[in-house]
Amino acid sequence: MAEILLSEVEKYYLVMGQDVRVDGRSRSDYRQGDIDLNAVTNSHGSIRARLGETDVIVATKVDLGTPDPDRPDRGTIKFLVDCSPTASPDFEGRGGDELAEKICRILSIAYDKSGTIDLKNLCITPKKYCYVIDVDILVLQCGGNLIDVISMAVKLCLGICELPRVTGLRYDLGQGVPVFSTDEFEFDYLDVKNSPVVVTLPRVGRYFVVDASLEEESCSKGKLAFGVTPDGCVTSIDKLGRGCYQVKSIQAATAMASTVGANVNNTINMRIDSLRELKLRADPKPLSMPMDI
């Protein structure tokens, strides 16, 4: 990820902080954040999320597709991450591709676990038709803790994503192709209550810290990224960067991620409810839906 040049003295000051971080936070405190609804108008749902200096936009588009032959009774969610060069000079040209792929992989694995999101609800006709949700993520600014912010924004975005209802079949050469409703009020929401949120714990000195800033990430030896559900269940663990851990450390980190992640995830669930209400109250924007004629 974007690393900045730091002096030995700054690293020393940061690493020996015990429970007092450079801005006064404790090791398990998050920075301030906010959410913007409807950042992208021509999508089925979009969120702009900011936490500290990190800024990302997530947008979803829903389309009709064919299920994966290995999973004929499920729909699919595809993730695509774009690390914009405005976020960091490291992302110029193809520099951001490696990180983007890594983040996609972490999200796919976290969401793949059964129980997090029921993909069976996305199936329309087994083996033939299903919903395909494309989740596009754009990184505007990288201010540390990028993966966590992306995962929060993705969960929020999937929570407010409007799935158009199937109103019937259009027969084309004997084949019945599902037709989406054109009524903007006829949609369903996805049940994302149990979707995971990623908690990345870099190791700074002898301790793990939550929501690291860019400076703290530059001082860390490796990170552990945990996917955590609202009830504290850890769905995935990923190791990023260089560094080795003792088993006890991994266990301690897992416990920390579980408690912190559960708290964060429950807050996100509450925000999703508020956002859905907000959408109801606001003027509904006309959605452009795929029309197969």
Partner: protein, 308 residues
């Protein structure tokens, strides 16, 4: 351990964000292209140029200042342009032959010549070839220094020097960056605040906050014959939790002043520190707290007659 405490994602509502009180622009405020005067006989200073019809036009956003026949426009924002005598905080980015290149938030990197520093041993002598090869032992890439601007080259590059005990390599602490125009030129830029923290307000917008006196790494810039030949050891420097909270609080106060676009100097900093005491240190990260501190300091400064 209160897990994930304070985690909050606010949903932004566009209507709540309208700025209710905006400070009014001063009278002589101009924007680039504004004609200052058409009368001949005025000398153009910084921030102005002469248009083909002979009128004097502003080239930056700022306030017009006139001293006898000299007209200048003092810019409000923009990039840092150093002047001789400015105190700056910089980061070494390159080690070259007989000089270091320093990032000082200016259009060009600053230059610190090997002959412009005090040798670690404190001696006064010509720099030799051995000194040149040992440059990285004195200052290496990433190191933070406080320095003064010695001169300005023709192309605008700033030459720095640390030939005084108050400048040199900085010790443990933290850096915060603010717009350079918020740091006004004053008599002193290195302040040892009464709370046990030292703050270096670099004219270039880089502010160094440290629990050490003058922010400096002890034993790295001695006056001649003062050193006892010992190399300073980082691990022996003890920093208490109280110090850390004080540093963090000052850092958050600087952020509050910067957000409110208030000039940052020792008085405004101490005002904001006093105002911030009602909050816990980490609560200062909340936007409401920052806004409140900004407003309180602005009020206090305008009643005391300082520039707001």
């Amino acid at each position: 351990m209160s897990a994930g405490s304070g985690f909050d994602l606010k949903i932004r509502d566009g209507n709540n964000e309208k700025n209710t009180t905006l400070p009014t622009a001063p009278q002589n405020f101009v924007t680039p292209g504004t004609i200052i005067t058409r009368e001949p006989g005025f000398m153009r200073g910084h921030g102005t140029y002469v248009f083909k019809d002979g009128s004097l036009v502003a080239s930056v956003c700022g306030t017009v200042e006139r001293v006898n026949k000299l007209v200048t426009v003092k810019g409000v924002g923009g990039v840092y342009n150093g002047e001789v005598g400015d105190v700056v905080v910089g980061r070494i980015v390159k080690v070259m032959q007989k000089r270091w290149k320093v990032d000082i938030n200016a259009p060009l990197e600053g230059v610190l010549l090997l002959s412009s520093i005090n040798l670690p041993s404190g001696e006064l002598r010509r720099r030799s070839a051995e000194d040149e090869l040992a440059m990285r032992e004195i200052l290496k890439e990433g190191d933070m220094i406080s320095a003064e601007i010695q001169s300005v080259y023709n192309d605008g590059t700033l030459a720095l020097h640390t030939r005084s005990v108050k400048y040199g390599k900085l010790g443990p602490g933290t850096l915060i960056k603010v717009p350079a125009s918020l740091i006004k030129r004053r008599k002193a830029h290195i302040h040892n605040l009464p709370i046990g923290i030292s703050v270096i307000l670099g004219n270039n917008g880089y502010i160094w906050i440290s629990p050490l006196a003058n922010g400096r790494m002890p034993g790295t810039n001695m006056e001649q014959d003062e050193t006892d030949g010992q190399k300073p050891v980082l691990e022996e420097i003890k920093i208490t939790g109280t110090d850390r909270f004080a540093v963090a609080r000052i850092k958050n106060c600087v952020a509050a002043l910067s957000k409110a676009w208030l000039p940052i100097y020792d008085t405004s900093l101490m005002y904001s520190y006093d105002c911030s005491m009602k909050y816990e240190c980490k609560e200062l990260l909340k936007p409401e707290a920052l806004k409140e501190i900004g407003e309180l300091v602005r009020e206090q400064m305008s009643t005391e007659g300082y520039m707001a």
